[in-house]
């Protein structure tokens, strides 16, 4: 047991922090947010040059072969500076899906480029009305000639406008994947009174569609292909996000990413990694909100003294600190647990081999269920509390766009609403506790 960062991890954190402070000041973040591109191309090249895009890439493809824990350390520093970047969407979320579900040819085509930062991949998961990323998709493949056609609408797809490839979740008729639920067989079947005792039951996350006799699949789509339309959306979260309408888009055999039996579990693991990485980014923002609040409480004077000398203000700052610290260590633990469950094998490939059962299903996607759900459910609530305190300590100035606090509090709300809300993840915890 040792909850201190290694020397290399501290060095990584310092390096990224210096870089963000130097190259991504708050005024530049404001400018980037208003731009068409929505992220700094120079920043992207710098992050790739630092090796962050290749952190999770196996050494077979020239990557660093490191884990989510290292990524989390870097992501927190990016969040502290509110740097808009496709790093997590591409090099964590989409990359993990391709690592786990991709054929040798698909991995060879995409992973080195994503790892080098020369290609950007993004996940198209959410659909209109969706509550979270674990819900069953409606986008559907229909047979057409030798291949398929894809039709559906996706929303809040980050960086779709610069993506070289979209990874789209689709409904696949007639494929039962119930056996791939984590702990299936030992978890009592949810009764009718359990919330979400349907495809989107937390913890049974990858059994999506089992109830309706359908499975889910993953499809690689070229954003420039005929039938793909992008429209910018505005969620106030600081990242460029898009509606992606897919109308009769041609899908060939080589575009199908894994069998449905593997696709669901691969998506579940990728979602866990992305959930943890985005939690780290949000923790960085919460830490910055705390730092800004403390600065303000020390310098702002009212009634003849710094407002930080009033206990009601000081204690809010302490509450923020204790919440941020708790989030941070829950997040580290979840990352560590994911790394323990999903290691790179000797060949540098993310080890799915030992986790595929005789029916070709990816086993144990829920290995870090408790830790991930604990981190996200706690962080959702805690980070909301942190920003509530931060705005209160700042008073009116914190509500103005010229103050930096809003850069982080807008992102904090987006984080809370992404990758599963508190109630959803707590239900997942309850299942992990065998309730």
């Amino acid at each position: 047991m040792d909850l201190t960062l290694s020397g290399e991890q501290r060095l990584l954190a310092d390096t990224v922090r210096d870089l963000v402070e130097r190259e991504c000041p708050p005024d530049l973040v404001r400018e980037i947010e208003k731009s068409e591109r929505g992220y700094g191309d120079g920043h992207w090249k710098t992050l790739a040059g630092l090796g962050l895009t290749g952190l999770l890439l196996g050494e077979e493809f020239g990557g660093a072969g490191q884990g989510v824990l290292d990524l989390v350390v870097a992501a927190e520093e990016l969040g502290r500076g509110a740097m808009p970047t496709p790093l997590l969407a591409s090099a964590v979320f989409a990359a993990t899906v391709i690592d786990l579900a991709g054929s040798a040819a698909q991995r060879a085509r995409w992973r080195p480029a994503i790892g080098a930062g020369t290609a950007i991949a993004t996940m198209a998961v959410l659909e209109p009305g969706a509550r979270d990323e674990w819900g069953a998709p409606d986008a559907a493949l229909t047979p057409h000639g030798a291949g398929h056609r894809l039709t559906g609408t996706k929303i809040l797809v980050p960086y779709a406008h610069v993506a070289d490839v979209l990874v789209v979740t689709v409904k696949v008729a007639g494929v039962a994947v119930a056996g791939s639920a984590p702990g299936a067989g030992s978890v009592p079947a949810a009764d009718a009174s359990t919330p979400g005792a349907d495809a989107s039951t937390p913890g049974a996350g990858v059994a999506a569609g089992a109830g309706s006799g359908g499975g889910r699949g993953l499809v690689l789509v070229d954003p420039g292909a005929p039938g793909v339309t992008l429209r910018r959306q505005h969620d106030g979260g600081g990242e460029p996000v898009f509606e992606v309408v897919l109308r009769d888009v041609e899908v060939n055999a080589e575009d199908l990413l894994g069998t449905p039996a593997v696709a669901g579990p691969a998506l579940a693991v990728a979602l866990d990694r992305m959930t943890v990485a985005s939690t780290a980014y949000a923790i960085g923002g919460a830490q910055r909100a705390l730092d800004l609040s403390v600065e303000h409480a020390r310098s702002r004077r009212q009634f003849g003294q710094p407002i930080g000398a009033f206990q009601s203000v000081a204690h809010r700052c302490v509450d923020m600190l204790t919440d941020v610290e708790a989030c941070r260590y829950l997040c580290y633990q979840a990352a560590w647990k994911l790394d323990a469950a999903w290691k790179l094998d000797a060949a540098g490939k993310l080890d799915a081999a030992g986790k595929v059962d005789t029916a070709g299903r990816l086993d144990a996607p829920g290995a870090a269920d408790f830790e991930v759900a604990a981190a996200k459910s706690f962080a959702n609530d805690a980070i909301r509390r942190v920003f509530t305190h931060a705005h209160q300590v700042h008073g009116a100035i914190g509500f103005s766009m010229e103050h930096d606090l809003q850069l982080h509090s807008r992102r904090g709300k987006t984080f809370e609403l992404s990758y599963g809300g508190s109630t959803w993840h707590r239900e997942r915890v309850a299942r992990a506790l065998r309730l």
């Binding site: 201190t4 930080g308 000398a309 000081a314 633990q333 506790l433």
Partner: protein
């Protein structure tokens, strides 16, 4: 970073878990349950452990320990706290009174006071707070007049834990120099509780019979060789002790044990499917995890040789609020039948465990420095905010 115990540490933990299974009576409800037999059992338990050298297993060998590392000590403390503290009042000896004597004591004091603690034969109480010196501890007035080879102590202390057990010895904070300023001029005395002039008056509390007392000192003679640490510099001595006490009790371990029992209970009573119950228990269990990790972070820093005072305070803030929440939310889950909270009541759910959890944790955010004092410390030390007025 490593979130796993070594096999060696785990084996140590299993050995103590087995030991507890073997030694705890079948109807053991914990030291804090309303059970007068419990105190007698804790004396026997400590002597047993002491005989096998297991009571002070993490202490240095020269003081009767086996130098088990920090993480073994943590596992041991978790098991003891989760099991309702079968060491009784003597946990204080091990957590901070013994270590304070190791740190500040003379060779003669160490030789005199530590071996009886290691043998599990001695109960200590403490005298810090006074009727007019609570959170403002530096306002204390109990006076020790220096007569060369001895001091004469006169005054009154309150909230002295376990003094009526009866306690054999007392870690007493007194004013030795009234002219030296508020935080200077205080000293720590080790006081024999059989000395003439000491009167103990138990204070009946919501939590039962054997917790807190008023102690009156009427010209009590204390030999000079019972002064712990430098004369007039007792504030620093006690400060070290309070830091040790704040991280010494793994409250999250008890909270988690109660949450686990609640999970068993709702499964057994067919309520595990209630969405509200699932949400509440999951939330409490996650907070146990957060409090544990914050404690482990502080201990990890201690392992590197640091003195994580602010980290210990944030860990304690989480843990004390958690302990209260487990009792409060747990009772809400149990509902009306949760009103029966005594182990003696036939129909008390979980033998009254949850009601006991509630009542015993009302002062969790008060003892060893109130929540507000903890927050002031963190605000000033970790965040650099100005002193509150």
């Amino acid at each position: 970073m490593d979130f796993e115990f070594t096999e060696d540490d785990r084996a140590f933990g299993r050995r103590f878990a087995d030991l507890l299974d073997e030694k705890l009576p079948a109807d053991w409800q914990g030291f804090f349950a309303e059970d007068r037999e419990a105190l007698a059992f804790t004396r026997e338990f400590c002597r047993d452990l002491g005989r096998d050298g297991l009571l002070t297993v993490s202490w240095p060998r020269e003081y009767g320990g086996q130098e088990a590392g920090l993480w073994k000590q943590t596992l041991l403390r978790e098991l003891m706290t989760a099991s309702g503290e079968p060491r009784g009042p003597q946990y204080m000896n091990l957590n901070y009174i013994g270590p304070l004597i190791m740190k500040f004591g003379t060779a003669a004091q160490k030789a005199r006071f530590l071996p009886p603690m290691a043998r599990g034969e001695v109960i200590w109480t403490q005298g810090f707070s006074e009727p007019d010196a609570g959170s403002d501890l530096a306002a204390l007035r109990t006076r020790a007049v220096d007569h060369g080879d001895h001091f004469v102590v006169t005054g009154q202390k309150i909230w002295s834990s376990y003094a009526d057990s009866p306690a054999d010895w007392n870690l007493l904070l007194v004013r030795t120099n009234p002219d030296a300023g508020r935080r200077r001029g205080m000293s720590v005395l080790l006081v024999d509780m059989t000395s003439p002039g000491i009167t103990v008056r138990p204070i009946e509390s919501m939590g039962g019979w054997h917790e807190i007392n008023e102690v009156f000192y009427d010209e009590v003679r204390v030999p000079r060789d019972c002064l712990l640490g430098p004369l007039d510099e007792g504030w620093g001595v006690i400060g070290s002790g309070l830091t040790l006490e704040r991280i010494g009790i793994p409250r999250y371990a008890r909270a988690q044990r109660v949450v686990e029992r609640l999970c068993d209970h709702v499964r057994e009573t067919g309520r595990a499917g209630e969405p509200d119950v699932r949400q509440k228990l999951a939330d409490l269990r996650v907070r146990c995890e957060a409090a544990k990790l914050l404690a482990y972070r502080a201990i990890s820093l201690v392992a590197t040789g640091a003195n994580p005072a602010a980290e210990a305070s944030t860990a304690r803030i989480h843990a004390t609020l958690l302990e209260q929440a487990v009792g409060q939310v747990g009772l809400e889950i149990l509902g009306a039948s949760g009103r029966l909270g005594s182990p003696a009541e036939d129909h008390a759910p979980l033998h009254g465990l949850v009601k006991q959890q509630w009542v015993h944790n009302i002062p969790a955010t008060i003892g060893a420095g109130t929540l507000e004092i903890q927050k002031n410390i963190v605000a000033q030390t970790a965040l650099g905010l100005p002193r509150s007025r």
